[in-house]
């Protein structure tokens, strides 16, 4: 998967797949996915939104459309011949929706070959950008999809529970990525052990892990460092109410750099705004219903960053 600039619409060009996950339920992942998708489509980017939120697939509600009759399972069960046949058009030009969370994640939970096959199928869809709403939770299937995308985006609110859950997700994704990078069963076992702070080897953090691996295999240790440094998730802070809240995003980034040695990219924040709730109740996307609201402005700014990211 590769990333590209906005506006490149050649049929054979690579598309960008962003996954939105992490944190706890209710942090605003679906709201952000839907509204960023709309902003991008208004910039001329062909966007497909994929609803993979097992806990509550309702991305369609954020787009103001009824629960779709066609889902991914219609394609998997061969009721329709092509994946593109299950894409749901929306009233917004350039924007389509694909639902079928259960089937998608079940498929991703399957063997690696099948996962890649599914991703390849998704990649064949005519679009420039695909946004996948992974919902809450950190099951292996969710983690794998997060790691297989071009960019993972964590949506966090400035609350202890949300930050805790995000770190839990990040830790799981981080160690899973490292695990996938090596073949040695011994090193894999070390990585599995590192997830538990009370492990018998006393591995407390990623640095301890690297040291322990290095004692066994220099190459594997170097490989893990490479993987860690290449892992660059993104962060959006939602429902911020003060400058202090905004600073939490920078603090989370600093904490991740110190703990994991990873560069978390702070994409931006979305202010707490009653207009968000109003738009959800009306089942109308905020960026269309009230584009001048403060929250909509924040979402637009983030979307424009994504559009211009390489």
């Amino acid at each position: 998967m590769g990333s590209k600039r906005v506006g490149q619409t050649q049929a054979n060009s690579q598309k960008t797949i962003w996954t939105i996950g992490g944190g706890k339920g209710g942090s605003g992942k679906s709201f952000i996915t839907a509204n960023i998708g709309i902003c991008l489509s208004k910039l001329g980017v062909r966007v497909i939104l994929i609803d993979a939120d097992l806990g509550g697939a309702n991305l369609h509600t954020f787009l103001g459309i009824s629960p779709p009759a066609l889902t991914l399972s219609d394609f998997i069960k061969k009721r329709v011949p092509l994946l593109r046949d299950v894409l749901i058009p929306t009233a917004i030009p350039n924007l389509q929706l694909l639902t079928g969370a259960q089937d998608l994640l079940n498929a991703v939970d399957a063997k690696s070959v099948q996962k890649r096959k599914l991703v390849r199928s998704i990649q064949t869809l005519e679009s420039d950008t695909i946004l996948v709403d992974l919902g809450a939770g950190n099951s292996l299937s969710v983690l794998d999809f997060f790691l297989m995308s071009d960019g993972g985006i964590l949506v966090v609110t400035p609350e202890p529970t949300s930050v805790e859950n995000t770190y839990r997700f990040l830790k799981s994704a981080f160690y899973r990525r490292l695990r996938q990078a090596v073949s040695s069963p011994f090193v894999k076992a070390l990585i599995d052990g590192a997830m538990d702070r009370k492990n018998e080897r006393g591995i407390q953090n990623p640095y301890d892990l690297i040291k322990a691996v290095r004692r066994e295999d220099e190459k594997d240790a170097d490989r893990l460092i490479e993987e860690a440094e290449a892992f660059r998730p993104n962060l959006i802070l939602n429902q911020v109410r003060s400058k202090k809240d905004i600073e939490i995003g920078f603090s989370i980034r600093s904490a991740c750099l110190k703990y994991f040695g990873i560069h978390l990219h702070y994409l931006g924040y979305v202010v707490y705004d009653q207009e968000v709730n109003n738009s959800i109740r009306k089942r109308k996307p905020l960026v269309l219903e009230n584009s001048r609201s403060r929250a909509a402005q924040c979402v637009m700014e983030i979307a424009s960053k994504l559009a211009n990211s390489h």
Binding site: E247, A255, G261
Partner: protein, 197 residues
Amino acid sequence: MKSIKDQTYYEILEVSPTAKDKEIQRAYEHAKETFHADSLAVYSLFSEEEVKEIQSAIEEAYRILMDETLRRSYDHSHLQTAGGQPPEKPFETQEVFKEKKTSLSFTGISFNPDEELYRGKTLKQIREKIGVELQVVSTETKISIKVLERIEEEAFENLPALVYLKGFLKGYAQSLGLDPQKVIDEYLHSMEEAKKK
């Protein structure tokens, strides 16, 4: 990917080796806030011992980097390359530093959740929050410290002519990373309102 023990003082504070005092001060305040024992961003990720270790590394980095002599000596022993000059991009923190600069332009300071206007006292609060001495602003902007004080104190009757004041406000806003036009407009508005009273 380095543990706190292996990081340079610049890496610990996430600043460039060419960072000025103002940037180091700002980074230090940020690091202190981030690694405070009760910090939302830290308590569930690090153990108490790890936090203490980082805190003391931050204090040590700040102490050395804010002292010209100690910093020079540190740079000499830690940053010199074979060519005798500090490397231009020696660390991964260089990247973080750049991102921080970019990110700050859209966040934090320019964000005004309470819709509070940029008045003298607001500018002073922001300056103090980011830990910048007035003298540092003065040196950077070439605006006399007296004028800066009058701007902050809202001593409108003693401020320079409007055309100069606009230039000073612009320089001051830029030095704090604020939107200059917004600062000028709102400050002048508050000045007009005060004159009406």
